[in-house]
C-alpha cells in the first residue's frame, strides 16, 4: 500500500471533509478477531461504531451487548451496530453511509482467508470513507506453524505483510517472556512495515484499532490500565515540515504505534498528520482550534524523551 498522495487517506479532523474512518481487522480463523471486536464495543465510550462482518458466523457479538437482532443487522448497546455483508462489502458500506446519523467509525472484520490489504484498497475508492489502518491479529501460539502450512501458509504471510499494526494475541498462553519475544521478532521479520502490539483477551485500546481523534480530545482512560499502553500529548510543536515530522514519527524508533496531529508549517499553513504503523501522511487542513500532536505506544516503548526533542514538552501523559 505505502504512502499515497493526493486523496485524503486518513480521516480528517473537523477541518477536513468528514469521511468516516474505516479500520480493517484481518487475521486467520481463531486469531482472536471476534474477542477483540467485543472488547472494542465494550469500551466504545460514546463512539458509534459499525462493525461489518463477512457473515454472522458463530455470532460475533457477545449476547449481553445485543439490544435487537434483525436479519442482517444487530443493534448493540451504545448506538453501535453490526452488519453482515455476505459477499458484497462495497454495497454494505454504501448502505452504511446512507444511515442518519452515519456511524462515527466503521470496523470491517475480514474473513479468515481474506487479504486485509485488498479490503483496505476497496475502501480507498469509496467516497465518504477513509481507511484508518489495517490491524492484523496473529495467534502467538499458532501463527508460526500456520505460516508453514501447505494450504494456508502463504495466506498467513500475505495477511501479515498487509498489516499496519499486528496484534499479537493470546500472549498469556505462552510459557514465558522469552517465548513471547521470540514470536514478536518473528512477526517483525515477516512484517517489517508493521508495529507489533501484544495482547491478552483482545484488550487493545480502542484508539489503536480505530485511530486517534487528535489532540483536542482527552485521551480515554483505560478500564484496563494493565493493558500497558501510554499516550502522550504535545501542544507546542516547534515549526516543522509536516511531512518530515510524520515520517519521523512513523519510521524512527520512537515506539509510536499511532500518532495524529494538527500543526502549521513555516508559512503558517495548517496541516493534519497521521501515522499508523510505519505509514504516514500529511495533508493540508483548515485551521484547527488547537494545534498539537498525540502519540500512542506501548508503555516502556514510547520514547518520551526523544519525542520531547521532536515535539516539545509533553503536556499530558496517560496510561491507557
Amino acid at each position: 500500500m505505502g504512502h499515497r498522495a493526493g486523496r485524503p487517506y486518513f480521516p480528517g479532523g473537523r477541518a477536513l471533509k468528514a469521511d468516516i474512518p474505516v479500520a480493517v481487522i484481518g487475521g486467520y480463523l481463531g486469531a482472536g478477531k471476534t474477542t477483540m471486536v467485543n472488547h472494542l464495543l465494550r469500551h466504545a465510550a460514546g463512539r458509534r461504531i459499525a462493525i461489518l462482518v463477512n457473515e454472522f458466523g458463530d455470532l460475533p457479538i457477545d449476547e449481553d451487548l445485543i439490544e435487537a437482532e434483525g436479519e442482517d443487522m444487530i443493534a448493540i448497546s451504545g448506538g453501535c451496530i453490526c452488519c453482515s455483508f455476505g459477499s458484497d462489502l462495497t454495497a454494505a458500506l454504501i448502505k452504511l453511509s446512507e444511515l442518519t446519523p452515519p456511524p462515527d467509525h466503521v470496523v470491517i472484520e475480514a474473513s479468515g482467508v481474506a487479504m486485509p490489504g485488498t479490503v483496505a484498497l476497496s475502501i480507498s475508492i469509496l467516497p465518504g470513507f477513509a481507511l484508518s489502518g489495517v490491524v492484523v491479529l496473529a495467534d502467538g501460539e499458532r501463527v508460526q506453524a500456520q505460516a508453514e502450512d501447505d494450504y494456508i501458509g502463504d495466506t498467513i504471510v500475505r495477511q501479515l505483510s498487509d498489516a499496519d499494526v499486528i496484534v499479537h494475541s493470546k500472549t498469556d498462553l505462552q510459557p514465558n517472556e522469552r517465548a513471547i519475544e521470540a514470536v514478536e521478532s518473528w512477526l517483525q521479520a515477516m512484517a517489517p512495515q508493521a508495529k507489533i502490539v501484544p495482547t491478552v483477551r483482545g484488550r487493545v485500546p480502542p484508539d489503536i484499532i480505530l485511530g486517534l481523534t487528535g489532540p483536542t480530545a482527552k485521551p480515554q482512560a483505560s478500564p484496563h490500565a494493565d493493558a500497558g499502553y501510554e499516550s502522550l500529548a504535545f501542544r507546542e510543536i516547534p515549526p516543522c515540515v509536516p511531512e518530515d515530522l510524520a515520517r519521523k514519527l512513523a519510521t524512527s524508533s520512537y515506539g509510536v504505534i499511532r500518532a495524529k496531529g494538527f500543526l502549521r508549517d513555516a508559512e503558517g499553513n495548517s496541516w493534519v498528520i497521521q501515522t499508523v504503523g510505519r505509514r504516514f501522511e500529511a495533508q493540508r487542513g483548515q485551521k484547527s482550534e488547537l494545534d498539537g500532536v498525540v502519540c500512542i505506544g506501548r508503555r516502556g516503548d514510547l520514547q518520551a524523551a526523544a519525542l520531547h526533542g521532536l515535539l516539545g514538552p509533553a503536556v499530558s501523559s496517560s496510561h491507557i
Binding site: R4, A5, G6, R7, Y28, L29, G30, N54, E55, F56, G57, D58, S84, G86, S87, D88, L89, T90, A91, I94, S111, G112, V113, M115, T118, V119, L121, S122, S124, I125, L126, P127, Y151, I152, D154, T155
Partner: protein
C-alpha cells in the same frame, strides 16, 4: 384414466443400456410408459399415436449440471463477445472483433433508448482474443457522453466504463492509488475497472446494480428459453444467494404451466454460519417442487486459473504468478462438509486449481469417517487441473466430477501458453482419465462464462479443439457416446436425479431433446452443429420456434 400418447421418431437414443435404441416412446401423465416399437407400446391398451416427431431424433432431455441463471439475466444487456452467440429469442449475434465494432454495437443500442438517463450496458467483452487490447473511457465516450456506459468482460472480473459513469460514481478524479484502477497519462482513470471491489461502486450507474448471483424474473424466463433452444430440460443455478423473495419468485415462475425446465438452485455458502446454512437449506428443501429442486449447497473454494486466483500445487503458475486465493478457510470447509453429510444435504464444491481439489478430497475423507454416507455424490465442479491420483481418490470417496469441457475450447490456448504451461494444459479437464478412474462424470458450460449448449459441450470433450484450432490433449478425448452420456445420465447422477431423468425408459420423466439429426451418426466435428427443434419436458411440448 389419463391419456397415453405414443410418439414416433426417426430414432430414439435412450441412454438405457438394456435398450439403447427405439422408434417409439409412450408417455402418460408426463412420464415415460415405455420405449420400443409401436406394437410393443400398443400392449398398454388405448394409445394415441402422435407423429409430429417422425422425422426427428429424440434423446433424453439434456441435463446441464453447472450453469447460472445469470446467463438469462445478461441478455437484457448488449452482447459484446468475440464469438457468435444466440440469444433467448433465437437471434444469432455475431461476435465483435474490434473495439470499433464494440462501440458501433453499443451505439446502436444507445440510439434505441428513450429514457435520457438510461445506461448502456454490455457484456462478455473478451480482449484476450483482440491481442489483449485495452478499451478506454475515450472509446466508450464515443457511445455517449451523456449516458453512463459500462461493458462487463467475459471473465466477470473486469469492466470498462465511460467518463460519465466515472463521474456519476465520483471516481472521475486524480489521486487513485489502486491496482484495480489503471490511470492514464493525465492521472485520471482509464475507465478500466479490475476486480469486484472497484466495479461495485460504478455498477449501479451502468446497469449492473443487481447482485448477479440473484436470479431475477426476466432472467429466469430468458434462461428457460435458452434451455429449450439447446435441448436442455433440467439445469442448475450454481449458485444463488436465494433470499426469501427470490425463492418465492422462483417458486412462482417455475410453477407456471408453460415454464419449460426443471431448475436446481444451489445455495451459495457465504452469508451464514455453517450450522445456519445447513438449517436454512434443509428448510428450503421442504418447499421443493418437481420443477424447483431446492436444498443443495455450493461452496467456492478457490478462484479461476486465467485470473491467477485458483490454488495450484507445485510448481504453481507457469508465468510465475503467486498462488491464488482461498475463498473459504480449510477449517470452515471441513465444518460445512461434516454438517452437510450429517444432515444429508448435498454439496458441490467449485475447485479450479489442483490444490483446492486436494483440500476438498482430504477434508471430505475425514468428514466421511465421522459421518459415513455411501451415496453422498458430493461433486467437484470444474476440477480442471486434477491429476489421475485425484480422480482415483475422488472415485474411492464416492465423489463425482463435473469437468469444464467448454473451457478447454475457449481458454485452452491461454493455459498452454501462459497460466499452467503445456503439460498441465494438455491434461486439463481430463475426461478420459476421469472415466477410466471410475469417477462419475458430467461436463458443463458454466453459462454465462461460456454459452449454454450441451451438444457443444459434448463436442468440446470429444474433440478437445482449442479456439486456435489445435487439438490439445488427444489422449483425454472421449467417445461421442460417452460425451452424450455425460450430458444426460452423467449430469443427472451428480444431482441425485438419475432415477428420474437422464434416460428414456419406463418410469422416468417424459423429458426429451428433440433433434433434427442423429448425433451418433454425424462426423464428431459436427456434433455442435446439430439443430435442436425444441424439447419435451414432463410430457409438455416446447418447440423452439414458438418461444
Amino acid at each position: 384414466m389419463s391419456e397415453t400418447i405414443v410418439y414416433s421418431a426417426k430414432k430414439i437414443i435412450t441412454m438405457n443400456p438394456s435398450r439403447p435404441e427405439a422408434t417409439h416412446v409412450a408417455v402418460r401423465d408426463g412420464r415415460i410408459l415405455g420405449a420400443g416399437s409401436l406394437s410393443e407400446l400398443q400392449t398398454w391398451g388405448d394409445v394415441r399415436l402422435d407423429e409430429r416427431f417422425k422425422d426427428k431424433v429424440l434423446m433424453p432431455g439434456f441435463v446441464e449440471g453447472h450453469a447460472h441463471v445469470m446467463e438469462g439475466s445478461l441478455w437484457s444487456k448488449v452482447y459484446c463477445g468475440w464469438f457468435d452467440r444466440a440469444d433467448p429469442d433465437g437471434k444469432l449475434w455475431s461476435g465483435v472483433k474490434s473495439v470499433d465494432a464494440v462501440v458501433e454495437r453499443l451505439r446502436a443500442a444507445e440510439a434505441a433508448l428513450e429514457d435520457p438517463a438510461a445506461a448502456v450496458s454490455g457484456w462478455q467483452l473478451d480482449p484476450i482474443y483482440m491481442d489483449n487490447i485495452t478499451v478506454t473511457r475515450a472509446d466508450l465516450d464515443r457511445v455517449s457522453t451523456t449516458r453512463a456506459v459500462g461493458v462487463l468482460h467475459a471473465s466477470g472480473h473486469i469492466m470498462n466504463v465511460n467518463t460519465k459513469a466515472l463521474e456519476l460514481a465520483g471516481m472521475m478524479k486524480t489521486g487513485h492509488n489502486h491496482p484495480g484502477i489503471p490511470l492514464g497519462a493525465d492521472g485520471l482513470p482509464t475507465g478500466e475497472l479490475k476486480g469486484p471491489e472497484v466495479m461495485t461502486p460504478v455498477g449501479p450507474f451502468v446497469g449492473f446494480e443487481r447482485n448477479l448471483l440473484d436470479a431475477d424474473e426476466a432472467g429466469l424466463r430468458n434462461f428457460a428459453k435458452l434451455c429449450v433452444r439447446t435441448g436442455t430440460t433440467t439445469i442448475t443455478d450454481l449458485a444463488s444467494r436465494m433470499d426469501e423473495d427470490t425463492v418465492d419468485m422462483m417458486l412462482r415462475v417455475t410453477s407456471e404451466p408453460h415454464y419449460p425446465i426443471r431448475l436446481m438452485p444451489f445455495r451459495f455458502f457465504l452469508g451464514l454460519s455453517a450450522p445456519e446454512l445447513v438449517e436454512t437449506v434443509l428448510a428450503m428443501k421442504k418447499r421443493a417442487t418437481d420443477r424447483l429442486r431446492l436444498g443443495q449447497i455450493k461452496i467456492v473454494v478457490d478462484g479461476s486459473i486465467q485470473g491467477f486466483s485458483a490454488r495450484l500445487r507445485w510448481p504453481g503458475y507457469h508465468n510465475g504468478a503467486p498462488n491464488g486465493l482461498w475463498y473459504i478457510a480449510p477449517e470452515h470447509l471441513s465444518e460445512l462438509l461434516h454438517l452437510a453429510l450429517e444432515a444429508g444435504v448435498q454439496v458441490h464444491t467449485h475447485t479450479n486449481g489442483d490444490q483446492a481439489t486436494q483440500l476438498v478430497l482430504e477434508k471430505l475423507a475425514t468428514a466421511l469417517q465421522a459421518h459415513p454416507n455411501p451415496d453422498h455424490r458430493f461433486t467437484l465442479q470444474h476440477c480442471q487441473l486434477a491429476d489421475a491420483a485425484q480422480f482415483r481418490l475422488a472415485a474411492k470417496l464416492g465423489m463425482c466430477v463435473n469437468l469444464f469441457a467448454n473451457h478447454h475450447y475457449y481458454w485452452g490456448d491461454e493455459h498452454y501458453n501462459l497460466t499452467v504451461g503445456p503439460d498441465r494444459a494438455t491434461r486439463m479437464n481430463a475426461c478420459r482419465t476421469a472415466l477410466d478412474s471410475g469417477v462419475p462424470m458430467a461436463i458443463h458450460s458454466d453459462a454465462p462464462v461460456t454459452p449454454l449448449g450441451p451438444l457443444f459441450t459434448a463436442w468440446a470433450a470429444v474433440n478437445r479443439i482449442t479456439a486456435s484450432g489445435r487439438v490439445q490433449g488427444e489422449e483425454e478425448r472421449i467417445d461421442v457416446s460417452e460425451a452424450l452420456y455425460a450430458v444426460t445420465m452423467g449430469a443427472a447422477y451428480t444431482l441425485h436425479l438419475d432415477g428420474e431423468i437422464g434416460s428414456i425408459e419406463t418410469g422416468k420423466k417424459a423429458d426429451f431433446a428433440v433433434l433434427e439429426a442423429d448425433p451418433t451418426a454425424c462426423d464428431p466435428m459436427e456434433l455442435k452443429d446439430i439443430p435442436v427443434w425444441g424439447t419435451v419436458q414432463g410430457g409438455r411440448i416446447f418447440p423452439a420456434a414458438e418461444l
